[in-house]
């Protein structure tokens, strides 16, 4: 297979776009596409300060790399979860993230749940009995809380995450199966509101396989091991199902996601200005919460007796 741009040997083939590219042209194509989506969805400008949530995985490190290549002001935020799983998962992902930042002279903020709140994520999950024996619910809650806190407290204009198209399609599939309210919130951009930072997903139209190819071709060292708690997760199951569909019908995942966004745009769901109504301020941390009183994160910390909250 030949590169469409130069006729050289192609190394990446995107059947959904009927496009094959060599390594050099692929490494140019990915930032070009990302820039196109940043502008299309009006995510941010070159004058704004961006906080990139980095986990040490291929998507978030690649996103940070791309934003820097495009000339954006992007700092990183790593949240140490204290997950070991017999493979030193958090230790290794933090090491790789710090190495990425130091090699490029980038600013990296680090939150460590154990150091800053006195408990790792698995311990918090155990103590609060949230999540049916798995810490994923506590992990998600804590990450959302901390990402917003750092973005707000350190004066960032926008919080960027490395969610790719497969992430978005899997969440969409899950929420569609249950017709969840979360369908109303799924967007490439969630605008800022009182106490909530603007959240953006610049990779939302790039396939997971494309991001892995980008990381490999750029020589980005990312954590290859899966989070020990992700094994057998519903998200992975849905991604596998969607990949079976994609295998038979190239472009099915992209079409599923884009047609959903079009449908929302055309008024299939409620207007989004209803989403953030009735928010309250948490008396513990000052962040917005859906009900009066402490937010979920502060209630969790109160329950386990953290002195910091």
């Amino acid at each position: 297979m030949k590169c469409r741009k130069c006729g050289g040997k192609a190394t990446v083939n995107m059947r959904q776009h009927k496009l094959a590219l060599c390594s050099q042209h692929y490494l140019e194509w990915v930032p070009e596409q990302t820039e196109r989506f940043i502008k299309k969805y009006e995510m941010f400008s070159k004058n704004e300060k961006i906080l990139v949530a980095v986990s040490g995985g291929k998507d978030s490190l690649s996103l940070w790399d791309i934003l820097c290549r495009l000339g954006y002001q992007a700092d990183g935020l790593y949240i140490g979860l204290g997950i070991d799983g017999g493979i030193g998962y958090s230790t290794e992902s933090q090491r790789l993230t710090q190495r990425f930042a130091s090699e490029r002279g980038l600013t990296l903020h680090i939150v460590d749940m154990q150091r800053d709140y006195g408990h790792s994520i698995p311990v918090l999950a155990q103590a609060t009995h949230r999540g049916k024996g798995k810490p994923c619910a506590v992990c998600g809650l804590s990450k959302r809380h901390e990402m917003n806190r750092i973005a707000r407290d350190m004066g960032y204009d926008v919080l960027a995450t490395g969610h790719n198209l497969d992430d978005e399609a899997a969440v969409l599939f899950s929420n569609t199966l249950s017709w969840s309210d979360y369908l109303l919130r799924q967007e490439p951009v969630l605008p800022s509101s009182d106490g909530l930072a603007r959240k953006v997903k610049p990779l939302c139209r790039l396939y997971e396989k494309e991001m892995a190819a980008y990381a490999l071709l750029r020589g980005i060292k990312y954590i290859y091991e899966e989070c020990p708690f992700a094994e057998g997760s519903t998200t992975i199951y849905y991604k596998e199902l969607l990949n079976q569909l994609e295998n038979q019908r190239p472009g099915a995942k992209l079409s599923f996601y884009l047609k959903f966004l079009d449908a929302k745009q055309n008024g299939l769901f409620s207007p989004k200005d209803q989403l953030l109504s009735n928010l309250h301020t948490c008396p513990g941390c000052g962040q917005p919460t859906s009900a009066p009183g402490l937010c979920s994160f502060c209630r969790m910390m109160e329950k386990v007796g953290s002195p910091e909250v």
Binding site: M1, K209, L217, T235, K239
Partner: protein, 64 residues
């Protein structure tokens, strides 16, 4: 000499001379879920696998 495919801690052997796509079908791996590399270079599904090739399959799905 067969071709070896490695995915995480699993190893598979297929006959050389077939395409990567045929090999992935044979070992029941969906092409969308992996990137194939040979000697560190990315290869595509139409690549013919040669005698003694060792193909590393990089899993791309994460559960995040």
């Amino acid at each position: 000499m067969p071709t070896k495919l490695i995915l995480r801690d699993k190893e598979f052997e297929v006959k050389s001379g077939m395409t990567l796509l045929s090999a992935l079908n044979k070992i029941d791996v969906i092409p969308e879920a992996v990137i194939a590399t040979r000697k560190g270079e990315l290869i595509l599904e139409d690549e013919i696998l040669r005698d003694g090739d060792v193909i590393k399959l990089v899993a791309v799905i994460s559960g995040g």
